[in-house]
């Protein structure tokens, strides 16, 4: 029993937000900058040697704890290692970790959400209850619990972060699938003789996935933050890995003498997370 007149998006909604004529098609400057930041970070991760000739692990003891200068743009640490070089080499760990984490969350979350949303009934009730419970535990604490099992290490930390995001992915995928499944076009697809899996594959999956992929882009920034937090606490990659969180943790010991050791890695994290969020939000908006 659809209340036809009231449920239909009438002229009322159109009038509240009149079409924005004359709005240029060129992407805004902020978005371009965000893409640029992400591309640079990705290039650092893939080929750090292009960007710095100095090592990220071996230092020059005579040049320890130097303030930023022409020779060392961002200064050096207690072993005379160039901070910029360490940050560039560290991109690999932060980015690969974030991708691994989001991949874990996306794949398992999508599997759970898709199953719950398309099968429905008791299966859905049980799966979503489990998801509710996972959401009741703060993600950092859940990640710590997993790290106790998996042990310390770069991949372990990334997987732990990924597992904690399964619940939110599952919930989003399910709600998308349920919305799409209730849509007229899916009913019409069944009505014109479509078989269950055909319809899921042709209509439900592609239509629910766009939103989910946009969310995954948003999760990338969050994952970078979480992984750097675990790195900072010392549960991630061991020293002398130049992982960004660990850089800050190590720099902490020289807070008084060498402010640059903590300030710059932190700023890089913020920039990359900001850029990832900006791109994610743009993607999210584009799917609506």
């Amino acid at each position: 029993m659809t209340d036809i007149l009231r449920s239909f998006p009438s002229a009322a909604s159109a009038r509240l937000a009149p079409p924005r004529f004359g709005w240029s098609r060129r992407p805004p400057l902020g978005l371009l900058l965000a893409w640029a930041v992400l591309l640079v970070a990705a290039a650092w991760a893939v080929a750090p040697e292009i960007f710095t000739s100095q090592s990220g692990v071996v230092g020059i003891p005579s040049e320890k704890l130097q303030a930023p200068s022409a020779a060392h743009w961002l200064g050096t640490d207690e072993l005379g290692r160039d901070l910029l070089a360490r940050i560039i080499h560290g991109a690999r760990y932060s980015l690969s970790g974030a991708f691994l984490a989001v991949g874990v969350g996306l794949v398992f979350g999508a599997a759970i959400g898709l199953t719950a949303g398309s099968v429905g009934g008791r299966v859905e009730a049980i799966l979503m209850r489990i998801v509710d419970v996972m959401l009741a535990i703060p993600s950092l604490l859940l990640a710590l619990s997993l790290i106790i099992i998996l042990g310390f290490g770069h991949a372990q930390a990334a997987i732990a972060v990924g597992v904690t995001s399964i619940a939110s992915f599952a919930r989003l995928v399910r709600s998308e699938v349920v919305t799409v499944r209730r849509s007229d076009y899916v009913e019409a697809a069944f009505g014109s003789g479509g078989r269950f899996l055909q319809v899921i594959w042709r209509h439900v999956l592609p239509n629910s996935l766009t939103t989910v992929l946009a969310y995954a882009a948003l999760q990338l920034g969050w994952a970078i933050l979480q992984i750097s937090t675990l790195g900072f606490l010392g549960y991630g990659a061991p020293p002398p890995t130049p992982e960004w969180g660990l850089l800050i943790a190590e720099g902490r010991k020289y807070m008084m003498a060498a402010w640059w050791l903590t300030a710059f890695p932190g700023l890089v994290v913020i920039l990359v997370v900001l850029a990832a969020n900006r791109v994610g939000r743009a993607a999210e908006r584009a799917t609506r």
Partner: protein
């Protein structure tokens, strides 16, 4: 009403039980346990028999289902077992550490709410377009800041550079100032985002248009019609924020060297002390469930639509 109350209580207990089960499965059934870590290290030189004896003492050798039931019975009676790292009952560790963290979290929460309201109002009602734009972008920046880094930065600026907050012997309040700021900023961000979105959405609702057509000024409409409708939905993320506060406590207590639940959790991970971490996880889940329960039960007081009552035939 009582039926609804009982139903919601039942649901809350179910979630807690499930959280306990997940935590137990994750933490107690893991391969390397704390007993091995603590005692099999070379320095104590214990024989395998002695280790087995210790394991028996901690109940680590019983079958899984038995340990599960014991642990569940323990939790119900407030007994979380022993911390294997320190040998002290976990319940006692929690009791000594909880108040400090609750203070930290409570103050941070208050500051975060204030901050979020400020940002949201300036972002929607600010006098100039550029100012509104700047404040609309601010929450995005605030969520991107790592808490641990912010903590370190605050110490560098306010303790070392400016010398405003002593690090050597701070007073009981002085010690909380910087950590509270550090936690509250990332917590305020999602709250501010929700408030901004709601204020925007409610401001364009047809009933606001109607109120304006009655002759109400922008200000009147904001105070009488928009605020309550926009602020209410923010209550629903209170439970999530509590969890984020605890997570923030893990980091800030470590950075600032404060005692509390967060530090306890951090040390428990280092020592693979599952019993302690499990207790912290349960407290977090309990807080989440309790806060959501309270919000659920209070919500109808603020929103007449959720009150059970006669409904005219449509």
């Amino acid at each position: 009403m009582t039926r609804r109350l009982l139903e919601r209580l039942g649901q809350a207990l179910l979630v807690l039980w499930a959280a306990f089960t997940i935590a137990f499965v994750l933490l107690q059934l893991m391969p390397g346990d704390a007993v091995l870590i603590k005692f099999v290290g070379g320095d104590l030189g214990l024989s395998p028999e002695a280790v087995a004896e210790i394991r028996a003492f901690y109940g680590a050798d019983a079958p899984a289902w038995r340990r599960y039931l014991d642990a569940l019975a323990g939790v119900v009676t407030g007994d979380f077992g022993y911390s294997i790292a320190s040998g002290v009952p976990v319940a006692e560790e929690i009791r000594t550490n909880l108040p400090a963290t609750l203070w930290l979290a409570g103050l941070a929460f208050a500051l975060a709410v204030g901050l979020a309201l400020l940002v949201a109002f300036l972002a929607t009602l600010g006098p100039f377009a550029w100012l509104r734009g700047a404040f609309q972008a601010l929450p995005g920046l605030m969520v991107s800041i790592p808490v641990f880094w912010l903590g370190v930065l605050l110490i560098q600026i306010f303790s070392f550079k400016l010398g405003w907050v002593s690090v050597i012997a701070p007073g009981p309040w002085e010690r909380l100032v910087l950590p509270v700021i550090a936690i509250s900023i990332p917590i305020a961000a999602p709250l501010a985002q929700i408030l901004i979105r709601n204020l925007d959405a409610v401001s364009t609702a047809p009933f606001v248009h109607v109120a304006r057509a009655k002759g109400a000024s922008r200000r009147w409409v904001m105070l009488r019609h928009v605020l309550r409708n926009a602020l209410l939905p923010a209550l629903t993320i209170a439970g999530v924020l509590f969890g984020e506060l605890l997570a923030g406590a893990v980091v800030t207590e470590t950075v600032f060297g404060l005692n509390g639940i967060g530090r306890l959790a951090e040390q428990a991970v280092r020592a693979q002390d599952a019993a302690v971490l499990q207790a912290v996880v349960l407290i977090a889940a309990f807080g989440f469930v309790a806060i959501n329960l309270i919000v659920d039960l209070l919500y109808p007081l603020f929103d007449p639509r959720l009150r059970r009552g006669g409904r005219a035939p449509a």
